[in-house]
């Protein structure tokens, strides 16, 4: 029978000849036929790509509006030159930590079913785009908004802004120019979002029943339908290449002359942010939940008491099998965080190292970013076998990408600053520049970026669970908690809200705490700059 299948698919010819034929066909727009359905691959993938691009575009609009909302206060204060009393950012960080599928199911149920304002599922016209675009765009916009928001004060403090204000140019004009000054640092990451949203929106596509590329590719990967998988991945890789190719000239268009002439300033904040109490508050709350939870049994099933609302006996309610949610969150904290932190650290290191070598990492970033974490998981599982340790390298393999892109963007601008020119003029060598000027400038913002992505890493780990990778039920891992309680989101909202709140708290904690973190200065004799660790730069992402 195997021989029959091989014969039908023409597999006897051997891999190299088959790949050659496939590439040959591709030149004529023919990507072959699906092994499963027997249908032509090209039309279905093109159709799915169109759907996904449209969804991505709508999500990007939502993201832009969200980002604008996040930055609105800073812009207003900056335009009125009152940036000193600026604080906050927790809300944006919490939104950025929201898992897409949770937002999606809440929107579908609340707005779609109960209020009936918009269709709860389908993809038939503009009205159908609103909810999925919101689900995808809100967290992405919050993340981009946080990045922008952290850069703006630096830009407002630049000499030209002061000069413009002194000359009586209206505040909103200055505000517009500061945005223009800061956008180039975000462009590489926006490009990554474009590709990520196109190929990685699988859960949202499922919840809203959207025939997009993410779902098509994932189904093909699971069913081992190679022609569809090849064509889908190729489409994503091409899209990534296009997005990358567009982001670079766009950045040059915005600040090109200054980059060329080395006339940029390092985007110092006017003064380091005052140490705040908020991280303490977030941390205490999270710690309290964990400590209280640790005292309880996370595995004790009581199917008679399933989906109980919060009460004295179960302060956060119970899940679908009657287990105490507080206990599960508490016990899950360590495993969830330990792995996520380890992966984030590895990703930070890889991202920094590769980001320092833009020639090498540029194409690599574009390619790897096109591969959703789930596909990476399948690939790693194929190579390394599906052991308990497989998801970690799979997620790490894609987690470094935004950090590397960030590092590269920062580096490019930092190299064009006047103080680097000055240091060079004083006779500093490459190694000295890197160690004493570039790294101290790049490391803190990238590290904070890595922290902001911590919840996302924890979620990505879980998304591989259904491949039989990673933690298994009944382990109380946070992502798993979210996934297993998602079907009950409407009947027992507390069962998903509690772990989601824990993740959001983690996100807020990571962001606010990073403001207060003083990284040690690389060397005792480091020159000049008093507090390099709190000198975020263009591309700063919070």
């Amino acid at each position: 029978m195997l021989a029959a299948v091989r014969d039908e698919l023409g597999l006897d010819a051997g891999p190299s000849k088959l790949l050659g034929e496939w590439l040959g066909g591709l030149a004529r727009g023919d990507a072959g036929r699906s092994w499963i359905s027997g249908g032509e691959v090209t039309p279905s993938v093109v159709q799915a790509l169109g759907v996904s691009l449209l969804l991505m575009a709508a999500a990007l609009v939502v993201a832009a509006v969200t980002a604008a909302a996040v930055c609105a206060r800073t812009l207003w204060l900056g335009a009125h030159r009152r940036l000193g009393d600026r604080s906050g950012g927790s809300v944006a960080a919490m939104t950025a930590a929201l898992p897409e599928f949770l937002t999606a199911s809440v929107l579908a149920t609340a707005v779609g079913v109960h209020l009936g304002w918009l269709p709860a599922l389908g993809w038939y016209g503009p009205r159908w785009m609103v909810l999925p675009a919101l689900a995808l765009g809100l967290p992405a916009g919050a993340l981009l908004g946080r990045m922008l928001d952290d850069l703006l004060p630096g830009a407002f403090a630049e000499p030209w802004a002061l000069a413009a204000a002194a000359r009586g140019i209206p505040g909103r004009v200055i505000a517009r120019q500061t945005v223009r000054r800061c956008i180039p640092g975000l462009l590489p990451n926006t490009g990554l979002f474009v590709v990520g949203l196109t190929g990685g929106a699988v859960t949202v596509e499922q919840i809203f029943d959207i025939p997009g590329l993410g779902r098509t590719t994932l189904q093909a990967a699971i069913a081992q339908d190679l022609p569809v998988l090849q064509a889908g991945t190729l489409a994503l890789v091409l899209l990534a290449a296009v997005a990358g190719a567009l982001a670079r000239p766009a950045a040059r268009l915005l600040i090109g002359p200054a980059l060329r002439d080395g006339a940029l300033h390092s985007l110092h904040r006017p003064k380091p942010p005052a140490p705040r109490r908020t991280p303490l508050l977030h941390g205490t709350l999270l710690l309290a939940v964990v400590v209280l939870g640790l005292a309880r049994d996370p595995l004790a099933l009581d199917t008679g008491a399933r989906l109980q609302p919060p009460s004295w006996a179960h302060p956060l309610g119970t899940d679908a099998l009657g287990r105490d949610l507080l206990a599960r969150i508490g016990h899950g904290a360590f495993t969830t965080l330990a792995l996520a932190v380890a992966i984030s650290a590895a990703a930070l290191l890889t991202g920094l190292l590769l980001g320092l070598l833009p020639r090498l990492s540029g194409p690599l970033v574009d390619t790897v970013n096109a591969v959703p974490a789930v596909l990476a998981g399948l690939l790693v599982a194929g190579v390394a076998g599906s052991g308990a340790a497989t998801p970690a390298p799979a997620v790490a393999a894609v987690a470094w990408v935004p950090l590397a892109a960030h590092t590269t963007a920062l580096l490019e601008q930092e190299r064009a600053t006047t103080h680097i020119t000055a240091t060079k003029g004083l006779g500093a060598g490459h190694a000295h520049l890197l160690r004493h000027e570039l790294l101290p400038a790049v490391l803190p913002p990238v590290a904070r970026h890595a922290l902001l992505r911590l919840p996302a890493v924890a979620l990505a780990l879980t998304s591989l669970g259904f491949l039989g990778l990673g933690s298994r039920p009944p382990a109380p891992e946070w992502g798993l908690l979210l996934a297993e309680n998602q079907p009950y989101a409407e009947r027992a909202p507390w069962a998903v809200l509690a772990p989601a709140a824990a993740l959001a708290l983690l996100g807020a904690l990571a962001v606010t705490a990073a403001d207060g973190v003083r990284l040690p200065r690389p060397f005792a004799g480091a020159p000049r700059r008093p507090k390099p660790a709190v000198a975020p730069l263009v591309g700063e992402t919070g």
Partner: protein, 495 residues
Amino acid sequence: MRSPRRRVVAGLLLAPVLTGCFASGGDTDVDSAEGSRLRVALAFPPAENFSPYGADATLLSRLGVTEGLTKLDANGAAAPALAESWTRENDRNWLFTLREATFQDGTEVTPATVAAALTHATEAEPVTAALSGVTLTAKKSGDRQVRVTTEDPDPALPLRLTSPGLAILSAKAYAAERVNPVGTATGPFEVTKVTGTTAATLDRFDEYWGGRAQASGVDARFIADGTARTNALRTDQVDLAEAVPVSQASTLDKGTRHETATTRTTSLLLNTKSGAFKDPKLRAAAREAVDGSVLAKDVYEGYADAGAGIFGPAVTWAADKRLEPSGRAKATDPDGTSVTIATYDNRPELPEVAQVLQQQLQKAGFKVKLEVREYSRLESDALAGEFDAFVGARNSLLDTGDPVSILASDFSCAGSYNLALLCDKKVDRAVAAAEKESDTAKRQQAAMNAEAAILATDATVPLVHQQIITGVATSVRGVTYDPYERTLIGTGTRR
């Protein structure tokens, strides 16, 4: 700055491009005097381009597109469909008399086309499930008859021919490389348009031999996500949603929720060939530790019956003919024996079932590890005996409608889907005896004897017999609630 006019032009140019990026067929809600169209949400998208030989076969029969020579009646016996009647000429030959019927492409159903259709089915690669291990030939015999000859005596042939995989299509369907059921079947509805794996449009076939259907057509949407399917019904985007997940059932009004006992049994299969459960005493301990009624009541929220045997209450004749298994091993104390239970998450209740089982077995003294994966990533490992136990849901009559064939494929030494890796002489003897019976009642009794022999080995512990929940809008009448999950929409379905 670009001029406003250029923006307008660009917008106008972009509009048709964008409409191409939406799925087609959103509001096809055209009511006419001829009866209105039904909007249906199905759970499983077509996986093989509506090939009648694979997983899509049931899809076509559920939508009322395809038919075979025979069909299953409510008692699990073969009833006339395209064949009016049949006789067994001798051990290996059956003679089927066809009724007067027309294919949806206008051609007549003749003995020659029927014989050709069956022959194509036997030549399909991979072979359709109902024909696995069977060699048959079909030849026309006179004006209205078809003679089917099997290589080995096959008393269950009429039951076998009820399989959706043995649907009869017109000659046109086989003209191309792939079998194409669009407009070539004989059922009350014909497929007119297929939109990838997202939707299909069906129109009423007016010349159907069983009378004109009441609905003028069917708009089928394939929505894999259970919550999304339920939401589609709740927001009135569809009239009928199949397989509503248990977790969503309570969100539907009582009047729109219909539960049907099915022949699908969830069981705990114990690996009899290797690992801890090779020891029958430990298998007995596991059987005694497991309580299916808790699962039925809590995990399935009452949409299931506690496990009685391999065949559940939906198999109407089974309860009266059931025998107590005899000669079971005595349970021993597990004393911390560690075992791995594997299950899949395509059916959302199964991981929950496995977790409850884990606790029940741990209370009895086992140490239990769980392995949860997507089904396609689990099956080969399970068949290779990598796990000690497997929790799975299996439709006990789906492929052939014959109770004996599932026993043979799942529990005999030569079985192709033997997840318990059972190879027991007594079981094989009982199954072989059942395979020989041709009288329906005797065959059913022999199947129950074999069931008792299998249960006596404790290779399988039936946990629950599932009910399927179909969400049906209050305006819809005449849905066929089929315990065999082969039909859904018929001539009488309307809204």
